[in-house]
Amino acid sequence: MTKGVITTLQRMSVHDGPGLRTVVFMKGCNMRCRWCHNPETWNPHRQVQYIREKCIRCLSCAAVCPNQVIRPSEDGPELDFGECRACGICADACCTGAISLVGREVGVEELWNEVRKDIPYFLNSGGGVTVSGGEPVLQKDFVREFLSVCRADGINTAIETNMAVKWADLDEVSPLVDFWMCDLKMSDSEKHKKWTGADNRTVVDNILKMAAAGRRMTVRTPIIPGVNDTAGEIEEICRLLAPFSGTVSYELMGFHTLGFSKYESMGIRNELEDAECLPADQLEELKKIPVKYNL
C-alpha cells in the first residue's frame, strides 16, 4: 500500500468544510507563502521541532545527540536545524515533549484507524474528513487511496489545495472529493510569485477548469495587510469567479499570527515576524465585495 507523510491530524475542526471535521495535514508544499501558518508542512521530510515554552532545561537532548548539533546553553538547548538529521534520539530523550519529530509516514489503514473514531460526530454534524497541508495533491496516490476508504464508509470528503499542481493529478483525485477549498491568493501573477514563490497561472487555470466542471468549490483568499488587502485585488478575483457563482463561493480569510511561533520552533526565518493582524473592520468591509458578485 502507498504511504503518505503527514504532520498531524486535527480533530473537531469547524473551519475546513461543513460540520465537524478531522483535518489531515500532508507534509510537503510547492509554495512558500510568507504568511503561512503551517511552515512545518513545507518540507516533505521529517524534521525536528523545539518548543521553548515546554522545555525545563534538563539538556537530556544535548547529552544524547549523536551528531552534536544540540548545544547546551543557560537558556536551554540550541539546535542547529540545518545540520540536524532528524534521527529522533533527542525527541525520545525529552521528558516534556519540548523536542519532537514533525512528519510521520503512515499507511492508509493506519490513518483511517485514527480518523474513523470520530465517524459518529461526522455523521451527526454533516462533517467528515478534510485533506490539507502542505499541498495534498503532491501525494495524490496516497490521498486517492485514503479518500476511497473514506468514501467507502460514506464519509464526506474535502480537500484544501493551492491548485498549483497538474490538472491531470487534480482530475484523478476529483471523483473522490465532495468539496473543494482552493486558494487564490492574489490575482497578479508576478506579485503572486513574489509572495508565494510560484506564479498563479496554473492556479487560475485549474480553478476555472474545476468550476467549469461544476465541482462544488470554495475559493479562498487570505487577506494580508499591505499585500493584497485592497478592494481592487478582491474585485479582480470576483470578476474571474462571477460566471460560476452557482457552484463556486468565494471566502476571504483574515491574516493572523497564530502560527508564527512555529517558525522559531522549526528554525525557519519568519519574514513577516513584525506583521500585525488584519483589523476586523477592514476584513468585514472587504467581505461585502463578493456579495455584490453573488459569490
Binding site: G19, S60, N124
Partner: protein, 712 residues
C-alpha cells in the same frame, strides 16, 4: 415581552445579585450551590438541641425544631415578584454533629479514613419528591391522607409518626398564613396600582393554596415553592422534577380560559426560577416514550434566559426530543455562557437502569433532578451524591504497600489495588447499611415523606423501608489519577525501561523534590493518559471501571440495589489534599481529577471529542451518571457553531453518555474575576453538577476553576 413585566424581572434579578452580595459579606464564601437562600436576621432563631453534644436527633426533635423555626421564620414578600417566600436557615447544617452518637460506627471509621471515603452516614435528602402528588392533593389533601392512614396503621409508634407529620404541615401552613397577612398589609399601603394589583393577586393565590389544591399556573408554582422552601429549610433538599410536564396542564387551562398570555406565563416562570436554582428537567420521554416537550418547555427556557442566574436546568436528550427545543437550549447555553442548561442522555440512563431489573417505563421516569443524579420522583431512596470513594487514595494505599515489599510490577500493584478497592467498597456499602438502619433515629425525612409513595401509606420513614425502591449510589472519584498512574508505570518502566523502580519510589516519596525529580515527574506526567482513545491510560481506566462496577454491584441484596457512578462533586480539592504524590506526575496534595474526566491537559488536540468519546465509554452503565465536565472554548462556543455543539452533545449521548455539564468561560474574564471577584457579581460557573456565583467561591476553589480552564 410586556415592558412592565420585563422590568419586574429585571428588578428581581438586581435584587438577587444584591442578596448574593450580602450573603458573601455576612456569611463568607461558600463552595456550594447558590440555593436561592437569603441571609436571615441576626439572633432570631437557633436550634434546640436534645443531646448533650449540642445537636438534635430523632423524630420529635426534628419536628420540634422545624415547627419552632416555621413559627418565627421571617416572611418575604417582594411586590415585583409573583410569588411569596424565600428560605433563610440551613437547619440541618446548624447542628454541631450530623449523626446520633447513640448509633456509633466506630468499626467503619478506620477504613473510612484509610481510603478517604465520604461515607454518607447521617446525610439527608438527595432523592426526589413527587411534586405531582403535592399538586393533586395540596396541603389539605396531604393532611387528609395522613389522617386516613393514621386510622389504618395505629400502633402508638405509627400514630406518633403521623402526628409529627401533621404538625409539620400545620407549621408550613402557619408560615404561609403569616405571608398572607403581610401581603395584605403591603397591598393596603401600596400606592402603585400595578404593584397593588400584583399583591392582591398574590394574596389570593396564597389563600387558595394554603389548604386547597392549586388550580392555576400561578397557584401551582406558588405551591411548589412553598413545599420546596419548607424542604430546603428542613434539610437542604433541592430536588426538582419534570417541570414542563408538571406545569403544562395549568398553563394550558389558564390560556384556554384567558387568564394569562405567554408574557405573563414567562413572568411567572421567571419569578419561579429565580426563587431557587432547583434541578428541573425539560423534555425527554414520558413513561410511554412520548416526548414531554410542549409550549411551556420553550417558555421555561425563555424565562430562564430573562433571569439568567445560577440555574440548574437539564434538557433530556434522546432521538424523540423536540429538535427546536434542543437547539434553543444550546443557543441559550452559548448566548449566556452561564453553565445552563445541562444535558442528560436518555438512552444510556434508561438502558443502564433497566439492567437493575426495572422496566423501560420506570427507567424513563428516572429523571435529572439533582447535582449529578437521577431519581424516580416519590418512588425511591437513593443516597445519591452522598457516598464517595477516593480511588486515588485507594491507589496510594496499594502503591505504598507494594513498594514497601521486595517485588514491584503493575501486575502485583493491580492485585493489591483490587484488594483495597474491594475493602473500600465494602466499607462504603456497610456505611450505607448502617445509615439505613438508624437514620430514622437520627434525621427522619419528615418533609420528603409527604411527597413519597409509601412512607405515609406504611407509616414508616422513607429511609426505613417506606420507599418503593432502594437504589443506593456509590460514586468513585479520582479515576484518572489512578488510571494514569498505572499507565505511567507500565509505559515508562515496564515497556520502555526509562525509569527504575527505586527512582520512581524515591521520586514519589519525596514529592518529586529529590535530585532529578522534576525530570522524572515530567516523564511520568507526559505518559499515556486516560482520555486518549486506545491508550494505555484508557486500558487501565476501563479495568478500574470494570472492577469498581463489579464490586459495587456485588453488594446488592434483597431490596437494596447498589448502583455505581463516577463523580467527585466539589470534593476534588479535599480528596487531593489527602493523597500524596502519585506516579502520574501529580504532586502531593494537589486536586484529584474530576469525576470521570481525564486529568486536565490530557490531550492537545480535539480535546472535546476525545473527552466526549472517553467519558461515554467509561460509564458504569447502571443508570447512575459519570458526567462529562466540558470546558468549552469560548472562541468555539458561538452562535454559528450551535449545530455542531448539538452534534457533539447528541453523539456523546448516543455513545453512552449520561450527563453533560458545560462551562464556557473567557480566560481573561475569569482571571480578572479571580483577582477581584466582587467586580464580577454576575459571573456564574458550573463547578460540577451545580452552578455557583464565581464570587461566592473560596480562593482555592476559584483557583481550581481557573486551572481547569487554563489547562484545557
Amino acid at each position: 415581552m410586556d415592558a412592565i413585566l420585563d422590568n419586574k424581572l429585571r428588578n428581581l434579578r438586581a435584587r438577587k445579585l444584591e442578596q448574593t452580595k450580602e450573603k458573601i459579606q455576612k456569611e463568607g464564601l461558600l463552595d456550594e450551590d447558590d440555593y436561592g437562600r437569603i441571609v436571615p436576621p441576626e439572633g432570631l432563631w437557633n436550634i434546640m438541641p436534645n443531646n448533650p453534644d449540642g445537636s438534635f436527633y430523632g423524630y420529635d426533635a426534628w419536628t420540634d425544631n422545624f415547627c419552632s423555626l416555621m413559627n418565627v421564620h421571617p416572611v418575604y414578600v417582594d411586590p415585583d415578584d409573583a410569588f411569596a417566600g424565600r428560605w433563610m436557615y440551613f437547619m440541618s447544617k446548624m447542628r454541631k454533629n450530623k449523626w446520633n452518637p447513640e448509633y456509633p460506627y466506630d468499626h467503619l471509621k478506620p477504613d473510612i479514613e484509610k481510603y478517604n471515603i465520604i461515607c454518607g452516614i447521617g446525610d439527608d435528602a438527595h432523592f426526589a419528591p413527587d411534586f405531582r402528588m403535592g399538586l393533586e392533593l395540596g396541603w389539605g389533601g396531604l393532611t387528609e391522607k395522613i389522617e386516613k392512614y393514621r386510622k389504618i396503621n395505629d400502633t402508638p409508634e405509627q400514630i406518633h409518626f403521623y402526628d409529627l407529620h401533621l404538625r409539620a404541615i400545620k407549621a408550613v401552613q402557619g408560615w404561609i398564613l403569616r405571608h398572607i397577612e403581610k401581603i395584605e398589609s403591603m397591598a393596603a399601603e401600596e400606592q402603585d396600582p400595578i404593584r397593588k394589583e400584583n399583591l392582591l393577586e398574590m394574596a389570593q393565590t396564597n389563600r387558595n393554596v394554603v389548604s386547597g389544591v392549586p388550580r392555576t399556573l400561578r397557584e401551582a408554582c406558588q405551591w411548589i415553592i412553598w413545599y420546596h422552601l419548607a424542604s430546603r429549610t428542613y434539610n437542604r433538599d433541592g430536588a426538582g422534577g419534570q417541570i414542563d410536564s408538571l406545569l403544562q396542564p395549568y398553563y394550558e387551562k389558564d390560556m384556554e380560559e384567558g387568564r394569562i398570555n405567554d408574557d405573563i406565563a414567562v413572568y411567572y416562570l421567571g419569578c419561579f426560577l429565580i426563587n431557587d436554582p432547583i434541578y428541573w428537567q425539560l423534555g425527554g420521554p414520558d413513561a410511554d416514550g412520548k416526548d414531554q416537550t410542549s409550549r411551556i418547555s420553550f417558555l421555561i427556557l425563555q424565562a430562564a434566559d430573562k433571569i439568567n442566574t445560577s440555574l440548574n436546568i437539564t434538557v433530556r436528550v434522546y432521538d424523540g426530543l423536540n429538535k427546536d427545543l434542543f437547539r434553543k437550549s444550546v443557543e441559550y447555553l452559548v448566548k449566556n455562557r452561564n453553565g445552563w442548561p445541562r444535558f442528560s442522555g436518555d438512552k444510556a440512563l434508561v438502558e443502564g437502569f433497566m439492567k437493575n431489573g426495572y422496566s423501560a417505563g420506570l427507567a424513563r421516569q428516572r429523571i435529572a433532578v439533582g447535582c449529578n443524579w437521577m431519581s424516580l420522583p416519590g418512588l425511591e431512596y437513593t443516597m445519591n451524591d452522598l457516598v464517595k470513594i477516593n480511588i486515588a487514595k485507594v491507589f496510594e494505599v496499594a502503591f505504598k504497600e507494594m513498594t514497601g515489599g521486595a517485588d514491584c510490577s503493575t501486575d502485583l500493584l493491580w492485585k493489591i489495588f483490587s484488594g483495597h478497592l474491594s475493602a473500600a467498597v465494602q466499607t462504603a456499602a456497610d456505611g450505607i447499611r448502617h445509615h439505613l438502619k438508624y437514620q430514622k433515629y437520627n434525621e427522619p425525612e419528615l418533609i420528603l415523606n409527604l411527597l413519597s409513595h409509601g412512607p405515609i401509606e406504611k407509616g414508616t420513614d422513607v429511609s426505613d423501608g417506606g420507599a418503593e425502591y432502594y437504589n443506593l449510589s456509590i460514586d468513585g472519584a479520582g479515576l484518572a489519577v489512578a488510571a494514569d498512574s498505572f499507565a505511567a508505570i507500565e509505559q515508562r518502566m515496564e515497556k520502555e525501561g526509562k525509569l527504575s523502580w527505586p527512582t520512581l519510589i524515591e521520586s514519589v516519596r519525596s514529592d518529586y523534590q529529590n535530585e532529578g525529580g522534576e525530570i522524572v515527574r515530567n516523564i511520568l506526567k507526559n505518559s499515556s493518559h486516560y482520555g486518549c482513545e486506545g491508550s494505555i491510560g484508557e486500558k487501565w481506566a476501563l479495568k478500574i471501571r470494570d472492577l469498581f462496577v463489579e464490586l459495587i454491584r456485588s453488594q446488592s441484596e434483597g431490596r437494596y440495589k447498589f448502583i455505581p457512578g463516577f463523580f467527585s462533586w466539589a470534593n476534588t480539592i479535599a480528596f487531593g489534599e489527602a493523597v500524596g504524590a502519585t506516579p502520574n506526575g501529580r504532586r502531593a496534595g494537589t486536586p484529584i481529577s474530576h469525576g470521570a474526566n481525564p486529568v486536565p491537559g490530557f490531550t492537545v488536540d480535539g480535546a472535546s471529542l476525545a473527552l466526549a468519546s472517553s467519558i461515554a465509554k467509561i460509564q458504569p452503565a447502571y443508570g447512575n451518571t459519570a458526567p462529562m465536565q466540558w470546558e468549552l472554548d469560548p472562541s468555539f462556543a458561538r452562535e454559528k457553531n450551535v449545530d455542531v455543539i448539538c452534534a457533539i452533545i447528541r453523539t456523546h449521548t448516543e455513545l453512552g453518555g449520561t450527563l453533560i455539564n458545560v462551562n464556557i468561560l473567557d480566560r481573561d474574564t475569569l482571571l480578572k474575576a479571580h483577582e477581584n471577584p466582587a467586580a464580577y457579581p454576575e459571573l456564574v460557573v458550573r463547578v460540577t453538577g451545580f452552578t455557583a456565583y464565581f464570587s461566592m467561591l473560596s480562593p482555592r476553589f476559584r483557583q481550581l476553576v481557573v486551572d481547569r480552564l487554563v489547562e484545557n
